[in-house]
Every structure is written in structure tokens, then in C-alpha cells.
Symmetry: C2
Subunit: 419 residues, 2 copies
């Protein structure tokens, strides 16, 4: 069995409170997954990640990037180490992306054929080739609970015809991904006896505990900003019968209204009994909004990347005026994977900790936040760490932002459960 998914409660607007049972544990949905690009959620130790946010439940599932880990340290090394969970000492569920997005956004000199993509590493310029089959091989070696079909990511903006051609290639690759996966899924490292187990293996990591369990594979809906293509893509993928469905190719520069519209128009055509995942979103208000619309899984680099740039999220305080967009201290340019600002009334304020107004501010980042950073450190101290480029600044900022995201999702889960 790969996964089972139960929906315990659903709202009028389509939001679902559920539970996703995976080989490495059960995940309460809707879930936000912190991104651990290179088998580490940047600057945050694993034990901290297990404890922060969501009433102490911590991050129940994290994501790692196939492209990065394939290049360094290499998927065969990770396979020999017993898979990604054991390699990084993370015993909870994980998801790997297909590598497609990074090949198209980071690698150099791409050459795309119907067979796959030839590209050069952004690390050392070496040549590599990713096909649907190779992406599956790499993802099976990594051994995340959830794998993603290999997809082409079309540039933005793209014409209807260009988008449709790309989508059709994605569908062909999805079919090939599934075929390879079904033939090889028994090779996942955590289902194999390990010849030289590390003394650091944790309880429950014996291959015996995974008897009969396999990874699962999600398809990725493409179709750009065209509702008719989104529908077509959803229908074709559902015909192929994946374990879950992702909505890809969003938050790539389009206005947030368009992102929301594309999500809504795609969700209509996805089965209600399977998990739905929107990749690479978003701001706290957006992840809450998408969860209320019926999205079960999301991931984003924003909380950790913003943290390293000194951007901290906090709740609007009772009685505090709603912030004006230009007055909330956003000075850093958002990174390539950030989403636009939500058009809904924001309940979240972004603080730029480097601003001089925080130099002697003895309050925590967010007086309503229960995270260990808000329980111990002042804005004045966090500003000092940031201005002094001290590594502890990135760590503490990341811990707070991740806790804020996990808490946001916990609030939505309670709301959807009617609590």
C-alpha cells in the first residue's frame, strides 16, 4: 500500500480536514511542508523542526529537491545510506519533487526532446540528462514517501499553443513516469535490508516495518494560465490514476488573483477522495486561503528564504490598523519562487527586521506566537544578529517563520474541523 487518505470534514467552500497515511507516518491535512532543498531545511536542526508550530507537533512532512540531491551528494550515495530519511535523520514523511522545475529554472543550456532534458549543472557545468524514467530512478533511490511525475515547466507568459504543446509533453512524461514507477517501486531503499546499518538508525527504521509499503506517485497538472487547458490536463491525469494530484506551474509571476483562479478551476476536476497539492505557494494568507478552497498540501521556500533576508511574519495585533502595502517594510526583492501578495484582507504583517525602528524594541517578533524564538528573544536582539550577519540570525528567523506557517495551517485545520 502506498497511501491512504481520509477526509474527516469538509467546508462549504470545499476545504477539507483530513489525514494522509504514508509509510513514514500520518500527516494531518491540510499540511504545509517546509522545503529542505539539499536534505536540510536551511539553518534549522531536525529536532527543532520536529517541535515548532502546530501546538508542538512540528513539521509533519518536509520536501527535498531531487535535482539538488541528484547533483550533490548523488542519489546512489543516498541509496547506499538507506535513503533520504536515514541519510538526514528525518523519520517523518517526506516528498521529493521531480527535478523538472529546477532543471528548467536553475540548470544551464537545456536541450528538450520528447525523450527528456539534457542540461548542465549549475554547480560545475557538467552534462546530465533527465527523462521521466531517470527522475523516477532518482526519486526511488531517495525514497521519499511521495514522488512526483516528471513534468515540463513552460516559461511565463506562454501562448495557448505553446502551453498546450508543453502540457501534452507533460502528459506523455506522466504516463512514462507511472510505468517506470510501477515496475521499480519495490526497489525503494527503506524496504531493503541494509548490509551495514548505522548505529544511528532510529526505532522503527527496520526494513521489516515497511513490509508491503511502497512510495506513492503524484501526477502534476499543467496548463499555464488557461482554464480550458487546466481542465484538460486534470482530466488526462485522472484517467492515468495517480495516488494524488499536484497543481504545478503556478506562482511563477502571475497576479495572485490568477493563481487563485487557476487553483479553483483545476480543483473542480480533481477527485475528492485523493490528496491535492499546490506546489511552491505562498504567503501565510494565501496558504490559508488555498487550504479553505480544498488544497490539502502546500510547500514553499518563502518562510525560510524570507527569514534569511530578515523578513519576518507576524499576526496583525488586535486593534492594530490593517497595514498599507507600501508601509510594511518590504525592501528586499522577493526571490524567484515567491508568490505575489494576496488580494484578500491580510491578517499577516511582514516585518523587515533590519529597520532602525526595531533597534531597541524589546518585544518578541509576534507577541501572540508560541515559538521558542518569540518566547526568548527580542526584536532588538534579532536586528543586531541580522545587522552583524551572525548565522544565529538566519536560524532564529527561520524557526519563527516556519512556526508561523505551521501555526497558520493548524488554525485552518481546526477551523475546517469545526473546532
Amino acid at each position: 500500500m502506498a497511501l491512504s487518505f481520509e477526509v474527516a470534514a469538509a467546508s462549504q467552500s470545499g476545504g477539507r480536514r483530513g489525514a494522509l497515511h504514508l509509510p513514514h507516518g500520518t500527516v494531518q491535512t491540510p499540511v504545509f511542508m517546509p522545503v529542505g532543498t539539499a536534505a536540510t531545511v536551511k539553518a534549522v536542526p531536525q529536532d527543532t523542526l520536529e517541535q515548532i508550530g502546530a501546538d508542538g507537533a512540528g513539521a509533519e512532512m518536509i520536501l527535498a529537491n531531487t535535482y539538488h540531491l541528484y547533483l550533490r551528494p548523488g542519489h546512489e550515495l543516498i541509496r547506499r545510506m538507506g535513503g533520504l530519511h536515514r541519510f538526514m535523520s528525518w523519520s517523518r514523511p517526506m516528498l521529493t519533487d521531480s527535478g523538472g522545475f529546477q532543471v528548467f529554472s536553475l540548470a544551464k543550456l537545456r536541450k528538450i526532446t520528447t525523450d527528456g532534458v539534457e542540461f548542465r549543472s549549475h554547480l560545475d557545468g557538467s552534462s546530465h540528462f533527465f527523462s521521466p524514467e531517470h527522475s523516477m530512478e532518482v526519486q526511488i533511490a531517495l525514497g521519499a514517501d511521495v514522488m512526483m511525475a516528471f513534468d515540463e515547466c513552460v516559461e511565463t507568459p506562454a501562448t495557448w499553443q505553446r502551453t498546450r504543446d508543453s502540457m501534452s509533453l507533460t502528459h506523455a512524461w506522466a504516463a512514462r513516469s507511472k510505468q517506470y514507477f510501477e515496475a521499480h517501486k519495490h526497489e525503494v531503499p527503506w524496504a531493503q535490508p541494509v548490509p551495514h546499518p548505522s548505529q544511528l538508525y532510529r526505532d522503527g527504521w527496520d526494513a521489516d516495518n515497511f513490509a508491503g509499503r511502497t512510495q506513492c506517485l503524484f501526477g502534476i497538472v499543467q496548463g499555464g494560465m488557461y482554464p480550458d487547458l487546466r481542465r484538460e490536463s486534470a482530466e488526462r491525469l485522472v484517467e492515468m490514476d495517480f495516488d494524488g494530484y499536484a497543481i504545478g506551474g503556478l506562482a511563477v509571476g502571475e497576479p495572485p488573483e490568477v493563481t487563485r483562479e487557476m487553483i479553483a478551476r483545476t480543483l473542480e476536476f480533481l477527485p475528492k477522495d485523493k490528496p491535492r497539492y499546490v506546489m511552491g505557494v505562498g504567503y501565510p494568507d494565501q496558504i490559508a486561503e488555498y487550504a479553505r478552497m480544498g488544497v490539502d498540501m502546500m510547500d514553499c521556500v518563502l518562510p525560510t528564504r524570507a527569514a534569511r533576508h530578515g523578513l519576518l511574519f507576524r499576526a496583525v495585533e488586535p486593534g492594530e490598523l490593517q497595514p498599507v502595502k507600501d508601509a510594511i517594510g518590504e525592501e528586499e526583492s522577493p526571490g524567484e519562487s515567491w508568490t505575489g501578495e494576496s488580494s484578500a484582507t491580510p491578517s499577516t504583517i511582514r516585518m523587515n527586521i533590519k529597520r532602525v525602528e526595531y533597534a531597541e524594541d524589546q518585544r518578541p517578533i509576534d507577541p501572540a506566537c508560541a515559538c521558542p524564538v518569540c518566547q526568548r528573544y527580542t526584536r532588538a536582539y534579532l536586528r543586531h544578529l541580522f545587522m552583524s550577519r551572525e548565522p544565529l540570525g538566519a536560524t532564529l528567523n527561520s524557526i519563527h517563520n516556519l512556526a508561523f506557517y505551521l501555526d497558520t495551517m493548524e488554525r485552518v485545520r481546526k477551523e475546517l474541523a469545526g473546532l
Copy 2:
């Protein structure tokens, strides 16, 4: 009362097992103090520092650098925040250096007169002046439990006459330091009511709890590599009656035999009933050796700086051959404050985690170490983090090395207590 110091047991070789009672708590001696240059032990959260090493007692006392904090964020800001303890949320004892060593090693365009030192900031080139009185003013604003008299640090090597002239200036400055300190020690911020206390103030941080307590001031013995000058310096400082005595100007490039000889020749002339502190040393075998000779306090950037360069300390395993110096993988050039290698038979091995032999090594750094890094992560994973320049690598490496140092000192304490 500034401090009280009890010696509970002493060895034949002069080593002492004691306890140092300071305004922010009691420190078991001999103690190793991690260095928190800019009000942060680089890359390590305060709560981790409170828990690692020494059977879970963690770091009982840490050091911060007066020069760095004077420049950024500024001592007056820290005074307004209630002092360094509250600013960085560290409720245990602290020590600040005098700023002298950094002025002489980091600042540009120094101009020394008998009055003090004019220098330019290494951060922005701005002009500043440090005198003994100003160093005291800054250190009182920072509010560490132990302050250091302002000293001149002579270049190495230096002639006998040059060293004696410098030492005499240090003595004059020591007397001025003490005079200013005695007149102003009641100004320490933690003994003042704070007009706007932070909600993050911890239990026991009320000014009331410090009624009648002040900081204490240590003198610094100089005299370079000349035993007669070391004796003269010790005798002059003891006449001035400081709360404790530091041995400065060592580990600045001289052979380790000379460092040990200078420590031994100075300890003879320091009172047995006051704490003795050797600044800026050393490797694990050295700190153990100096503690056995009768040194009560030490600090060094080595465990954290080495960690950031991927150098990890571990115990020689039972039955393991003693390492040959050239075979232990030291490739990084040691930083300016590192000491030379101990001449004693080493019980410690330095691992360079970037070496390819660790790429698939599933053992912890040190199988005998109880630190959270050795309990959870493999050498293979730590190597991956280092090679990928992931910030978690610096954090985990620093946690292990600090725990190794704190454990080393705990073992020496037990040995000195006859346990």
C-alpha cells in the same frame, strides 16, 4: 559582593576543583568558556548552549567581546536594553574582555599613547579612542559578571625592553582601570530598575535580585615570553588586589612548550585563593593540561571557528593507534587565535569532515560522545552539509565541538575532585 571563590580540592600538580560564585550564578571550575564575540556563540542558539556537554549542565559561563559590541550595536544601546545578559537572553555568568586584544589585532591605524589607543574600526574605518577608563565604562554598560582591566598587547616576538615597556604601560592602565571601576561599579545596568522591562525578562532578572552585587574586575598579567617579566607583572598586579588574575599575551604564535612554561612560571606568583584565567587557549588536550596545572578559567574561539572550517574533535578510540600529526587530516590553516599543537601525547583527534573517506561513513563524529549531534547524525551527512555549504553544517559542527570541550573540562573536574 563581586565574587567568592572556593577551592574544594587540589591536586599535587596544582590543579584545583572549585566553584566561582558570581552575580548570575555559580560556575564549577576549572571552566571552559565558549566565545560569544557579538553577543552570540556563533551559529549556536542559547538554549542549545545551556544543554550541551558536562552531563547536561551546558556552558555555565560564556565570554563576549567588548571591542565588537562597542562598535555594534554599541554599549549604550546594550545598557538601555538592561545589559548584555538581557539583550541576548543569557541568564548565566558572562565575562567581557577589555577590548585591548581586538584593538591591537583587528583595528586599523592604531596610535598608542600613555593615555590610551586611538584606532579605526575594522567595520567602517570610523575613529575611536579606548582608554582604561573608557574600557571600564563600556564593560560596565555591558554588565558581564567578570570584566578585564585594559591592557596593551605587545607584538610577537618582542625584545625584553619592548616587552617590559609595554608591561609597565599595562600596569599603569590596570591601576587606572581599577580606580575607574571602583568609582563606577554601582552603575551596572542589571542593578538598576529598568523603566520599560521587556515581557521576555526571565525569572530572577529583577534588579532586586542583584541588590548589593557588583561586577568584578580581573587584572591581566603580561610580560611576553620572559619569565622574569611574568613574575614582575604578577607581583605588581597582586599588589593592586584584583578579584582574579588573567594570564594574557599567550597563544600568539609561540611553541606550545613556551605557552605551558609561561603559564607555569606565572601561576607560581598568583594567589591560591583567587581564580586564575588563561585567555585564548587552546586545543582540548591543552585546556585539560592547563587545568591540571592550576588554571581555573579558559576561553577560546577554536571549537567554534574550527567547526565552521569543518574541523571536528573526537576522542582517540580504545585500541586506536595514536595519530601521527601529518595523518590526521588537518588541511585548513588555523586562525589567528589558535594555539599550537600540544606536545603531550594527544588523546584527541582532529577530523577534517570534508575528506572523501567520510562521504559514506555512517558513524557519528565520536561514538563516545553524548552530544545531540553524535546521537543523531552521521559523518556522511555532516560531510554533505559542509560540502554543500549548508548553514546547518556550521551549527551542528559547533554544537559537537563545544560539547567536546565542555565534556573535556567536566572529566578534568571529576579527576581533580578524586571521582
